[in-house]
Amino acid sequence: MGIVQRKDLSLAERLYLPEVVRGLSITFRKMFEKPMTRQYPEEPLPKTEVTRGQPRLVVKDDGNVACVSCGMCEAACPAYAITIDGGETERPIEREPVRFEIDMLRCILCGFCEEACPKDAIFMSDELELADSSRGALVYDLEMLKRPKAALQKRIDYVYRLNQRWRKSSSTS
């Protein structure tokens, strides 16, 4: 514990006026500069490939969702936001999700699902906005989560670049 000695104010400080002038000069200078703030939501935020928005499911070029409902993301999800039920298909990849729900109110956008996915089926999109008038409407189902691969391509490329040290080839078919 130290004792703080309060210094006496100098004459200029006691006069108060010079400091007011100095402060106002900053105010007036900033008035004519380019503003730092944005008119959100009219003016959207800048998005880059690093943006980790809400998770979305990749729809492959053949029109099928890449997810095979293996449950890895469900197991990895620290917020228990994901619920998956699998089903059988006649396609060579025998399994597909019949129910894939992400409770967006629970999702903490951590990206563990993206990391856990062995099939490159779930990626963090650049979609960040989330609003509705009921909680139920914010539990996104399979149809609401599907995105064409092209819409997520930037992020997919980024994740591949990020992981290329230990990842040799794509597993998305």
Binding site: V68, G71, E74, G86, E88, P92, P118
Partner: protein
């Protein structure tokens, strides 16, 4: 008993059993694919190799499943040489095994996956493509074979030959073209096919009914007893997300069922998967609560009101018939007897005739899981036909327990004389003209208690799934009704 030393620990081993069994019994982990304690060892997978030295000889690496124990044997399961050999075996087993784990139903309970995770290498060295074989070969109504995943351990072949004693499967083809197939591609038959999916160490044999239903790590497992016959096989009830029973699997019980169970019991999921009746509705599903006949027919009522109505009916009519279901636990049987004593009448239980499913392996063909327990309590078994005859002349009856209405025959009960008034404790309220009061009861996976099997062995039931809201334990409801009846009797 023979004394051997495993990893520096001296253990006692049964000389009739192979070395791997001695290690497992002592809690020492030795991997295995082709070995199964219930089947003859063949030593085809070679993954159980351990280092054994005997009588000052240099140590040798041998397959633990094909080696018998000998006095003074020294075993090192983790010797560098043994590990190296096992790693090489694993690499060969994985050479043609597809990377299907995300799709495979076995993932999570797969021996190959577990051991590859623990001891395998990160990536394959093989440059040749994997074998391309049938991914979905149907072997009858129960089992699907994925030939690519098969590691040819031949457990399934031996199961058919040794346990069911009806050889139906074989390894056909030679060398790299070997696959598991049935004789003449005929579908599998028999009541024990489900066990093939259990004993398959990989995901090659899977159950058609369980295929892609759930990931196994999401299933909460509770020990219980099979309800479909009086054998009382030890089972595990597996529940998905606390809501639905997804499968029954056999649990090792040396005195009852060993490792096996029949398909009748395995797939008897219908009675425990019934949906609830709609809110406020009486029929069309399980009754969560109680219902009482009013002027407009059966209507939902509080349990207290329904208990009052049941007391009116049972207390005012002479000598009501008291019949339990064979699914009652010993504890519930006792509560039913106490209730019958308050009336006072003798209680019985519905004992349907043999189902015709009896075989010489497990199924006894007697559909009463607790026949012995209830009989020992003093409840007399009554055939459904005799019970219906007695009901036709009674004025009132109390029918208690899961499936009691269907066992007696819902259609026949509907044809009873109008004078017979029924108080029923069942999972659902059937549309019977004589039904005045009905209470919902828990199913056998929703209650705890004991059944006594055909051999007189007391086997537990545990709560695998919470009963629907509003469904009280049967013992509690019966005790409350008995109390109401005895106080009413004291007053009159």
């Amino acid at each position: 008993m023979t004394k051997i030393t495993v990893n520096g620990r001296e253990i006692e081993a049964d000389p009739k059993q192979p070395l791997i069994r001695a290690c497992h019994d002592a809690g020492i982990d030795v991997p295995m694919y082709c070995y199964h304690p219930g089947l003859t060892p063949v030593g085809s997978c070679r993954i159980c190799q351990v280092e054994v030295s005997q009588q000052n000889q240099p140590p040798r690496v041998v397959a633990a499943c094909k080696t018998s124990v000998a006095e003074g044997m020294t075993v090192q399961t983790d010797a560098p040489k043994a590990r190296e050999v096992r790693r090489e075996c694993l690499e060969f087993l994985l050479k043609n095994h597809p990377l299907d784990c995300p799709i495979c139903d076995k993932a999570g309970e797969c021996d190959l996956q577990d051991y590859s995770f623990n001891e395998g290498q990160g990536c394959g060295r093989s440059v040749e493509p994997r074998r391309k074989l049938h991914k979905r070969r149907s072997l009858g109504d129960v089992i699907v074979l994925d030939e690519e995943r098969c590691i040819l351990c031949s457990r399934c072949v031996r199961f058919c030959g040794e346990v069911t004693k009806k050889p139906q499967l074989t390894v056909s083809g030679l060398g790299a073209h070997s696959v598991i197939s049935t004789f003449g591609d005929r579908p599998l038959t028999g009541n024990y096919q489900g066990n093939l999916a259990d004993i398959c160490p990989v995901g090659a044999l899977t159950l058609k009914k369980f295929r892609f239903q759930a990931r196994v790590w999401n299933l909460a497992k509770t020990r219980s007893t099979c309800a479909e016959c009086s054998r009382g096989c030890a089972i595990t009830v597996e529940v998905l997300r606390g809501r639905q029973v997804k499968r029954f699997r056999p649990r090792y019980d040396p005195q009852v069922n060993q490792w096996w169970m029949c398909d009748t019991g395995r797939f008897a999921l219908g009675p425990v998967q019934q949906p609830l009746a709609a809110a406020g509705a009486v029929h069309g599903g399980r009754l969560a609560g109680a219902c009482v006949r009013g002027p407009g027919g059966l209507a939902r009522a509080t349990v207290d009101a329904a208990l009052g109505a049941a007391r009116e009916i049972l207390g005012n009519k002479p000598a009501p018939l008291v019949l339990g279901s064979p699914f009652l636990t010993v504890e519930e049987g006792r509560a039913l007897q106490a209730l019958a004593a308050a009336l006072p009448v003798a209680a019985g239980f519905v004992a349907p005739p043999p189902s015709g499913l009896a075989d010489d392996l497990l199924n006894t063909g007697d559909p009463c899981p607790n026949r012995r327990g209830l009989t020992e309590l003093g409840l007399r078994p009554v055939e459904p036909a005799a019970a219906r005859k007695a009901l036709a002349t009674a004025r009132a009856a109390l029918l208690v327990g899961e499936r009691v209405t269907t066992l007696l025959g819902a259609d026949e009960l509907a044809g009873l004389p109008a004078a017979v008034r029924l108080v029923v404790f069942d999972t659902q309220a059937h549309a019977l003209p004589g039904l005045d009061v009905c209470f919902g009861v828990p199913t056998h996976v929703e209650k705890s208690g004991h059944w006594v099997n055909v051999g007189g062995l007391r086997r537990p039931l545990e709560v695998a799934l919470a009963a629907p809201r509003g469904v009280a334990p049967l013992e509690t409801s019966l005790a409350r009704l008995a109390q109401l009846l005895s106080t009413a009797g004291a007053r009159s």
